[in-house]
């Protein structure tokens, strides 16, 4: 070699590059203790909310000396979940909505936790319909929790300000429209608004369709047909159209996703919006909503086959978890998500921490086991419930008389995404051809359904 100096520099350079490239390999040193990463709260949650969460983590670690928890902030959204899944960065314990657990387990993405779940004292008590969302061929891949029904969240303070009685929320769609108009005219804000983007526009439209007795997908002889151009969806969209173009009572922002809408509501920009019954927790944690000003009623139902859209979350375990990690994960799911419903001491401990951290206790939910178990668990923490019961009574009293309808089963997220743009079109274009737009959605989503191999 002509110049040894050059060669040395080159060798060092190569060495540096190789070192940089190999520097990323993971270092694992098992020390007898099991460490698992667990989903904590939505990024941006309040300090108090995190304090409450960490207090529960400490209690768990105290009771399970061999398990160390590593909480990571986590929020399920379609786009971020897909990249976390592909990139292998999901925590060991995470949650997905009901709509996704079946497809995920069929794609082999969820750990089989049957053996560990069967060890739980309440394993046989689950509402089987709910457990089905994360089970296949008798095997369990996740534990459902926090089921919600669709209702209308409303701002009681704004109702009062507009001269309406917050204890008598609207019970029919016509009343919703009339109240929205009054609020909008008097207070110059949106009287009523609904989600419009990030797949939530389709989600809310589906709930509104169910409330009028329609269905987005029908199954006959094992074949799924996409039926978004049903009369009830058309009526729901026509209703939104009239609120926008006749009454002008829906404000001026028609690009609102879940977080955006909650922010809008929290800022007093809209008086009513259809939402899951569990949204109050997030409204308090993220948007500073005072539970005293919050009201919840059922979504008005009318016509045959009408019902309430219900969904929820499934606590799941990463498929890459080892047997020990799986066992630890199920213990955490049991401790954090389930024992507040099944174990009096834990239920009280959880409620105490939440109250201490100014977090809502008593947010309306549907039963995971049965109504009696839910009522019993609520009885244990009665003195800690800080969500004014009267504020959510219209929902609590109404929901049990209604039929619960699950979300569409096939290509749910794509269906919702396609419907987003129809909702946006109706709210931004006075002459939108509703039927033609819905037929377009049918065509698009039906093609996806037909292309499935299962």
């Amino acid at each position: 070699m002509k110049s040894p100096r050059k060669a040395v520099i080159a060798t060092v350079a190569i060495g540096a590059v190789l070192a940089a490239l190999t520097g990323c390999s993971p270092a694992a040193a098992p020390d007898g203790k099991i460490t698992i990463t667990v989903a904590s709260l939505i990024p941006g949650s309040s300090k108090d909310a995190f304090a409450a969460f960490y207090a529960r983590v400490q209690q768990f670690e105290k009771a399970h000396k061999n398990i160390t928890l590593k909480p990571v902030e986590y929020q399920w959204t379609g786009p971020t979940f897909a990249s976390q899944l592909a990139g292998g960065t999901l925590p060991d314990v995470f949650n997905v909505p009901f709509t996704d657990s079946q497809s995920l387990l069929q794609a082999g993405q969820l750990a089989d936790i049957t053996a560990d779940v069967k060890k739980l004292p309440y394993a046989s008590k689950f509402n089987q319909n709910l457990l089905q969302v994360a089970s296949k061929d008798g095997k369990i891949y996740g534990i459902p929790y926090g089921p919600y029904g669709y209702g209308i969240s409303y701002n009681r303070a704004l109702f009062t300000k507009a001269g309406l009685d917050p204890n008598k929320p609207p019970t029919t769609w016509d009343e919703v429209r009339a109240d929205a108009k009054i609020i909008s005219d008097k207070l110059h804000i949106a009287g009523f608004m609904q989600f419009t983007s990030g797949n939530t526009g389709g989600w809310a439209l589906t709930a509104e369709t169910y409330s009028r007795g329609g269905r987005m997908e029908t199954v006959s002889g094992g074949k799924t047909t996409v039926t978004t151009d049903n009369p009830q969806t058309i009526a729901s969209l026509q209703y939104l159209h009239d609120l926008r173009w006749v009454d002008n009572s829906v404000g001026s922002n028609f690009l609102l996703d879940w977080s955006g809408m909650n922010q809008y509501f929290g800022a007093g920009q809209t008086a009513m919006y259809p939402s899951g019954s569990d949204v109050l927790t997030s409204l308090v944690q993220q948007n500073n909503v005072d539970p005293k000003d919050y009201g919840l009623t059922v979504l008005p139902t009318e016509g045959a086959d009408s019902g309430i859209l219900a969904g929820g979350n499934v606590a799941t375990v990463n498929v890459k978890a080892s047997a020990e990690e799986k066992a630890a994960a199920v213990q955490w799911i049991d401790f954090y998500y389930m024992q507040k419903l099944t174990n009096q001491a834990q239920s009280v401990a959880d409620a105490k921490i939440l109250v201490g951290a100014k977090q809502p206790v008593g947010v309306p939910q549907l039963p995971i086991f049965d109504q009696k178990t839910l009522d019993t668990s609520l009885g244990w923490i009665d003195q800690y419930i800080n969500v004014p019961k009267a504020n959510v009574a219209p929902f609590q009293d109404g929901v049990f008389k209604l039929t619960i309808v699950p979300e569409p089963a096939r290509h749910t997220q794509e269906l919702y995404a396609a419907l987003d743009s129809v909702v946006q079109a109706v709210l931004t274009d006075k002459n939108a051809d509703i039927t033609a737009l819905l037929q377009g959605v049918n065509k698009k989503v039906q093609a996806l359904v037909d292309a499935d191999t299962y």
């Binding site: 110049s3 060669a7 080159a10 590059v17 079109a425 931004t428």
Partner: protein, 313 residues
């Protein structure tokens, strides 16, 4: 004659290159020097490109075993009605950006070069939007575009008696609103390039033009623009490529709405890959990415061939 002989005798020596002569000639050192670059470029640039090509003919969610599907992904893309909407929207964005966004920095640069005082201040002001982090700028504009009568822009319009505009809340005005923000955000960089180029225009040319009786407009038309031509040609193709890949503004401001009126090709690629939380369409996403890359490569090639003569002059 002697030179012929010497070249004839030297030629075979040159042809007889052996690994040893290559080594003695410093070939290994050269190669070693190139290795870091080759490795970095190979790992971080070419590997993803090759992987994208492979993925475009597969059905994969990046987790389960990929399945070879031939050109099915490309067929799906062409059968998707949203694809044509996205192409149309991207073309519309590029056109608006060309008509309004391309001349704006040029005019600003020419005017600024004429300014005698506080040139630095104007340059700093022009460049400021480039310094603001894009996401921050976009979110600020989203706030300004509030369609209620109390929105920032609508309040300003009300001062001169113009009624509130829907801005991003209407399919008609959403795209021009995005172009306005994008032009504001990107103009600073281009202005600096033009300003630098303007300093290289020989002052004698202006003097000569002045002697010939040319006014300011004739000087700009006959001296400034021809002198800037090579730069203008490059910035034009860069702008076309940039606008064809627009993503940030529609993604953050409108999310492609209302009713897909601002969905662009890159955003469609994103939604193929990530909209379904189960990530089933990475194949279609890469297929569309390759189509866009191929289109832009052909466009650039044709553009440079077509403008070669013009540029050389």
């Amino acid at each position: 004659m002697s030179s012929t002989v010497s070249s004839a005798t030297r030629a075979p020596v040159r042809d007889r290159r052996t690994p040893l002569t290559w080594l003695k000639g410093g070939g290994l050192t050269n190669l070693l020097f190139m290795v870091p670059l080759l490795v970095i470029f190979g790992v971080f640039s070419w590997t993803p490109i090759v992987q994208a090509v492979v993925m475009s003919v597969q059905h994969t969610n990046l987790v389960t075993t990929p399945e070879f599907v031939g050109f099915a992904n490309f067929v799906h893309v062409f059968n998707d009605p949203t694809f044509y909407t996205a192409v149309q929207n991207t073309g519309y964005f590029a056109l608006l950006a060309l008509v309004f966004g391309f001349p704006a920095p040029l005019i600003a640069a020419v005017l600024m070069s004429e300014v005698r005082r506080a040139k630095g201040l104007f340059s700093a002001l022009a460049y400021l939007p480039v310094v603001v982090p894009p996401v921050v700028a976009v979110l600020l504009w989203k706030f300004f575009y509030d369609a209620s009568p109390h929105g920032v822009f609508n309040t300003i319009l009300s001062w001169v008696g113009i009624p509130p505009q829907p801005w991003i809340q209407s399919a008609t005005t959403a795209m021009p609103s995005l172009v306005l923000e994008a032009t504001w955000a990107a103009a600073g960089g281009t202005i600096i390039i033009y300003l630098a180029a303007l300093t290289s225009v020989a002052p004698e040319l202006y003097d000569a033009a002045e002697v010939d009786g040319a006014g300011i407009w004739r000087k700009i038309w006959h001296v400034t623009l021809p002198q800037l031509r090579p730069i203008l040609l490059v910035t034009l193709i860069l702008q076309i490529i940039g606008t064809s890949q627009v993503f940030l503004e529609p993604f953050l401001i409108t999310g492609g709405g209302p009713a897909n009126s601002t969905i662009t090709i890159l955003q469609l690629i994103y939604s193929y890959a990530f909209q379904n939380s189960l990530g089933g369409n990475y194949g279609e996403a890469t297929a569309l990415s390759l189509l866009l890359a191929a289109f832009l490569a052909v466009l650039s090639f044709v553009y440079f061939r077509a403008t070669k003569a013009w540029s050389d002059n």
